[in-house]
Amino acid sequence: MAHHRRSHLLLVMAIIAGLSIGVAGCRGPQSGGLTVAGSTSVQPLVEHLAERYMAEHHGEVVNVQGSGSTAGIRAAVSGAAAIGMASRELEPTERDLHRFLIAQDAIAVIVHPANPVKALRREQLRDIYARRIRDWQQLGGNPGTINFITREEGSGTRGAFQEIVMGDAEISADGIVQDSTGTVRAIVAGDRNAIGYISLGMVTPEVATISLDEVVPTHDAVISGQYPLTRPFLLVTSGEPGPRERAFMDYLHQPACQAIIEEEGYVPSAAESRS
């Protein structure tokens, strides 16, 4: 009897093993849905718009996955995703991809709301991240070691920050590394001595933004081009987009979607082209 029970258990396990191998074999990224993968900064926005898209276009399925800008671009090249998302400009080696701008995003530098430091110059920010300025006191704040938080390498947000703020300087290895906007924000919200950078659209009242070179990161400052720390939100395809991809991307340029993008705190691509 006991023997019998055990053999049943084994049989069930065998079937599960077999099924999972089978399922893993069949599931291609393209079967059924349209896969959009890449930047975790772009992901929430596209997810939101994709839901509307699916509600309005019956039968169409859009899968949005966050894996980082570089990974998204690579997925588009390899065909693992139909569309890649990137939150930084394409690099020279990536220029042969089809580039589709959906919005312009500002990167806000954030600190704890109780931090008296409200403004920084770009060089100061660079020196903080290069660990040349180590204490808030050096910036006119309360004494305390600066806990600076950066994103993981390969992140579009980090790429833009590196390019615009750091230039040739390296982000110090002493920095805390986090791989999502949410955790950066949660950490800064809980630490009076922390500083971090996240997409302007993701700023909430738990954290305070810092003005950079005397420009407060507002919607208008971004549109007018005064705020220096901005980067594009891109969708990319390998070669000309097919009809399904084209339909989805065009949808994002419709006024209704552009209005949503603006509501979410980003600068719609149409606005950018107007200015």
Binding site: A14, I21, A173, I176
Partner: protein, 284 residues
């Protein structure tokens, strides 16, 4: 009937074989991808190099090795005593009704997704550690505590089995010599269950070494050699998970090599656990 048994047996055999094959394939793949760079860079400078700047050609993973060791040992220092104490409580002290409620509750802990642990870590534990002990809060200590809690179910359930396997005759022998219940636990039950308890720790350790998501959230991920538990650090797993998505070329190979190191780490731990189990088996 015979035929049915024959078919079932072969099916089982094939299933067992295919799971083994999948495992072997993964191992071979990781080794093929990871070994060349270790040989090219030199095993010494790969394992003992302190600088990790993969996009600029520096591939030293010592900070990550140390990070993993610190975090894992720390997690065990927490989960070991707490886990064994819980197991003793459940097996020896708690009334039946209490144990019957607590046991499944502890196993439920195992079902909570890592992200949840990580998030609780960021929101509650990290600020607490920063305010109490100083430093950035995101640290080896935070990761060790979170991991310690995460491996508790493993440690507790194996420790429980070990304690339950202690023959009741030993316990009676000690009581009949005038030992109190506590003395009986300390002097007879725990020493007798020792090998099983060590197995619990080793398996818990295996789990701790491999955990990724929650660790990434609270350990700080700074690539530098940690010198005290309040420092941020990066573990082998978090290194792979943070960078694998975009890595290419030598960088990618270096991450696979990190995987090889992790693989060897875990194999050693499992071998230790198996040795323990076998020795205990031969003892009975």
């Amino acid at each position: 009937m015979r035929l049915r048994e024959f078919v079932i047996e072969k099916l089982l055999f094939i299933a067992a074989l295919s799971s083994l094959a999948v495992l072997a394939l993964i191992a071979v793949f990781v080794f093929i991808e990871g070994t060349p760079i270790m040989l090219r860079e030199g095993l010494g400078s790969f394992l003992l190099g302190a600088k990790w700047a993969p996009t600029k050609g520096s591939f030293g993973i010592l900070p990550m090795i140390m990070g993993s060791i610190w975090v894992t040992v720390g997690a065990l220092l927490i989960a070991g005593p707490v886990g064994v104490a819980c197991a003793v409580f459940l097996v020896e002290i708690a009334p039946r009704q209490v144990a019957d409620v607590v046991r499944p509750a502890i196993q439920l802990l195992a079902g909570i997704p890592s992200v949840v642990y990580g998030f609780i870590g960021i929101v509650v534990l990290v600020p607490f550690i920063r305010e109490t002990f100083g430093g950035p809060g995101l640290s080896i200590l935070s990761a060790a505590i979170i991991l310690g809690v995460m491996v508790l179910p493993t440690v507790i359930s194996i420790a429980q089995n070990a304690l339950e396997a202690v023959p009741v005759e030993y316990k009676q022998g000690a009581l009949a010599l005038g030992c109190t219940h506590w003395q009986t636990i300390l002097l007879v039950i725990l020493p007798t269950a020792r090998t099983g308890l060590i197995t619990a720790l080793v398996l818990g350790m295996g789990r701790a070494v491999g955990e990724t998501m929650a660790v990434i959230m609270v350990v700080g991920n700074a690539v530098k050699l940690p010198i005290n538990p309040l420092d941020p650090a990066r573990t082998l797993t978090s290194n792979i998970a943070l960078e694998m998505a975009y890595a290419a070329g030598a960088h990618r190979e270096a991450l696979f090599a990190t995987g090889v190191v992790l693989f060897v780490f875990i194999m050693i731990l499992n071998a230790l656990a198996n040795m323990r189990l076998r020795r205990r088996g031969s003892h009975r």
